[in-house]
Amino acid sequence: MTSRKSVLVLGGSSDIGRAAARAFAKAGYDVALAGRDAAALEPDAADLRARYTIEGSTLKFDVLDTASFDGFVGSLPVLPDVVISIIGLLGVQAQAESDLAHAITIMRSNYEGPSLILGLFAEKFLARGHGTIVGVSSVAGDRGRSSNYVYGSAKAGFSAFLSGLRARASRGGVHVVTVKPGFVRTKMTEGMKLIGPLTVEAPVVGDAILAAVENKTDVVYVSGKWRLVMFIIKALPEAVFKKLKF
C-alpha cells in the first residue's frame, strides 16, 4: 500500500484518457488504465511509470458488458480515490437513423455503461465516505441537434445521471464532476471540421479534469467559450432552432 492517491481511468486508450492519466500521474497519483484491450494499454502505463515516480497499471474493462461490472469493481486491488469515465462513441448519425444495432451501441456506450459503472463506484465511495467521480459528457448533450442527436441524447442522459448523482452523493462526502469538453482534436474528431477558436487539444482537457477534481468543480466546460455558446443555443426557441441547419 502506498500513501499516494490513486485514479482509475475508464477509457484509458482514448486521447483524452491518456491526457488525463498524464495529468494525474504528474500530480503524483498512481494510475490504473482500463479498456477493452488491457495489453494495448501497457505502453501507456509504461510511459507513466517512466515519466513519473508512480505506479501505473492496466485493467480490462468493456463498457458494453454490464454483467461484468460488479465483478470488475469487486476485484479491484484498491478502491481508487478518483474514477474517471472517458468512454464515449460518436458513431455515425446517418447510419444510426436506420440501423438499430448501431444506435443501440451509441446509446449504451455513452449512457448506459458509463452511468451504471460510475453509479457502482458511487456506492462504494459513499460506503467509504470519500471519493471523486468524473464523467466526461459532451456539449452535444445540452441540446439535441439534427446532425448528432443519437449521440447527443445519450450524452444528455449521462449528464442528467451525473447531476442527480452529484446531488445525492455530495451529502455523503463524494464529489461528482461533469466535464463537457466541446471540440477536442482527437481520434474521434479526426477529419471533422472543427471551429478553431472553440477547439482544444487533449492535454488541455486532461489538465482541466485534474483541476476540477482538486477544486471540487461541479460542471466544467473546458473552454469557457462553450458555456456561452451552449447558453445561447439552449435559449433559442424550438421554432427557430428546428429551422437551423446545425
Binding site: 505502453p43 517512466a50 515519466r51 479526426e190
Partner: protein, 443 residues
C-alpha cells in the same frame, strides 16, 4: 488532401496527410512518395512527402527511463519540450537542443540538430544510441553504431529519407538546476565577434547574435552569449531548482503585413537590442534555460511576423579556413540589401556525425528573409559565396537551394544514396526536399 508547409510557410504543398496510431498503421501508411513529419518545425520542404506525409506526433510515449544512467527509450513523436518539462525537474536534460523546444525527437535525429554546444559536445545524434527504423522496403530494424551501422549513420541527419524513425534510445545529461550561468560579450565588429567566439571555445554554450543591418566599421557587431549549467549553490536561495517553462503566452494573432519588417524598423530594433545587451556585458548572471535556449518560443506563431507569403531562412556553415572573408562578404551584401531579419545568428560548429549532417568545423551564419521581391536571386548569389568557400546549407532550414549548391556541399551524398537504395530499392520514401535536391529525375 491537405495544404502543408514547413515553419517558414514556404513552399505550401498539397499532400495526403496521414495520422497513424500504431506502428502497423505506419507501415500501411507508407506509399510511394511518403515521408514522416514530426512537429513541423523544419523550415522548408524536408518533412513534406511527394504524395503522402505521415504525421508522427501521436507517438509520444516514453518506453523506459533509467535514472541511474540517464538512458531513455522513447517514441519518435515525443517533443523536446515534453522531455524537458518532464525530466528537467528530475535533473535530466537532453544533451543537445536546437533553438526551439517544439521539435520532435524523430525530427531532431533526422536533422541531426545542433545546439549552442556543438563546438564542444557535438550534435543531437551523438547522444542517440539506437533507432528503431521502418525502412522504405518495409523492414523494421534496430540500428546503432554496432548493428546496421550504415543505416544508423545515414539516418542521423538523413532528413527522414532512410525510412520512418519509430523509436530511439538516447542519453540525457544530468543537471543540478534548470538555470544557465550566462556571460554576455559585446563585439564591435565581425573580427571582434569571431575572436570572442574563438575565445569562448571552452564554454559549454556559445552563440553570437549579429546586427545584420550594421554597416561599414560596425559590420558584424554582435553580442556573444556564453553559458554554463548553473550549480545549485549558484542559485539564490529563493530560486526554484527548475524554473517553469511557460506556454507561449503572447501569440502573433494574424499575419502581419510584410511591410512591418523594413530596414527602418529592423535598424531601430537592432540598435536598441545591441545597446541593451552591451549594457549587460561583462559579469555573469543566471538565466532560466527557457529564454537562454529558446528565445523565440515565448512568442507563439512568430513565423507570422513575416506575413502571409512566409520567409526563408538561410543557414550556411563555412569551414574555418576562409570563414572570416566569406562571412564578411555575405554580411556586407546583406547589410547593403537591408531587409534581413532582426535575428541573425553566428556560432561555431564542430564535426557532424551522420553522412548528411550539416555541421562541419567552422562558423555557421543563420539569416531570415521574408519571401518577396528578388530574394531568390539574392540567395543564389549568397550560395555562390558559400560554395566557393567550401561551405554548405542546412537542409532542415532549406526550401530553395539548387542541386549544384547541395552537391558541392555534401560530398558524402553518393554514399548516402547507396545506403538509401539498399534500404529502399523501390524509392518509396521521398520528400519534396529529396525530389528537389537529389532524387533521380523521374521520367
Amino acid at each position: 488532401m491537405t495544404l502543408v508547409s514547413g515553419w517558414g510557410r514556404f513552399p505550401v504543398v498539397d499532400t495526403d496527410l496521414s495520422r497513424p496510431r500504431s506502428f502497423e498503421a505506419v507501415s500501411e501508411a507508407v506509399v510511394p512518395g511518403s515521408v514522416a513529419r514530426g512537429n513541423g518545425r523544419a523550415y522548408g520542404d524536408a518533412a513534406i512527402g511527394v504524395s503522402r506525409t505521415i504525421a508522427m506526433t501521436g507517438f509520444d510515449r516514453v518506453r523506459s527511463f533509467d535514472p541511474a544512467t540517464g538512458r531513455i527509450r522513447l517514441e519518435a513523436g515525443v517533443l523536446l519540450s515534453d522531455l524537458i518539462d518532464t525530466f528537467g525537474p528530475r535533473g535530466f536534460l537532453p544533451f543537445v537542443v536546437p533553438g526551439t523546444r517544439f521539435a520532435s525527437v524523430g525530427g531532431a535525429i533526422a536533422a541531426d540538430v545542433h545546439g549552442k554546444n556543438h563546438h564542444c559536445e557535438g550534435g543531437f545524434g551523438r547522444y542517440v544510441d539506437s533507432i528503431l527504423l521502418r525502412t522504405g522496403q518495409g523492414e523494421v530494424m534496430e540500428a546503432s553504431r554496432e548493428q546496421n551501422s550504415d543505416a544508423f549513420f545515414a539516418t542521423i541527419g538523413g532528413m527522414g529519407l532512410t525510412g520512418v524513425i519509430l523509436e530511439a534510445t538516447m542519453r540525457l545529461r544530468t543537471v543540478e538546476t534548470g538555470w544557465i550561468r550566462e556571460r554576455v560579450i559585446a563585439a564591435s565588429d565581425l573580427d571582434a565577434a569571431m575572436r570572442a567566439l574563438d575565445a569562448g571555445d571552452a564554454a559549454t554554450y556559445s552563440v553570437a547574435w549579429i546586427d545584420c543591418v550594421a554597416r561599414g566599421s560596425d559590420l558584424g557587431r554582435s553580442l556573444i552569449y556564453l553559458g554554463e549549467h548553473a550549480r545549485a549553490d549558484e542559485l539564490a536561495d529563493s530560486a526554484d531548482r527548475f524554473p517553469a517553462g511557460n506556454d507561449p503566452g503572447l501569440a502573433v494573432p494574424v499575419d502581419l503585413p510584410s511591410i512591418t519588417l523594413n530596414r527602418y524598423s529592423i535598424r531601430a530594433f537592432n540598435e536598441l537590442y545591441y545597446r541593451m545587451g552591451a549594457r549587460r556585458a561583462g559579469g555573469g548572471h543566471v538565466v532560466s534555460l527557457y529564454p537562454y535556449f529558446f528565445p523565440l518560443d515565448s512568442i507563439a506563431a512568430w513565423n507570422r511576423i513575416y506575413g502571409r507569403r512566409g520567409f526563408l531562412q538561410h543557414q550556411c556553415v563555412i569551414p574555418e579556413q576562409g570563414a572570416r572573408s566569406a562571412i564578411g562578404e555575405i554580411l556586407d551584401r546583406v547589410s547593403r540589401r537591408g531587409d534581413a531579419s532582426f535575428l541573425a545568428v553566428l556560432k561555431k560548429l564542430g564535426q557532424g556525425d551522420g553522412l548528411l549532417s550539416f555541421p562541419l568545423p567552422g562558423y555557421t551564419l543563420a539569416l531570415d528573409f521574408p519571401v518577396r521581391g528578388e530574394i531568390l536571386n539574392f540567395l543564389d548569389e549568397i550560395d555562390r559565396l558559400v560554395v566557393a568557400a567550401g561551405g554548405r546549407l542546412y537542409l532542415a532550414k532549406d526550401a530553395r537551394q539548387s542541386r549544384a549548391t547541395f552537391e558541392a556541399g555534401y560530398p558524402a551524398l553518393a554514399r548516402f544514396n547507396a545506403i538509401r537504395k539498399s534500404l529502399d530499392p523501390a524509392g518509396a520514401i521521398r520528400s519534396k526536399l529529396s525530389q528537389r535536391l537529389f532524387d533521380e529525375v523521374q521520367p
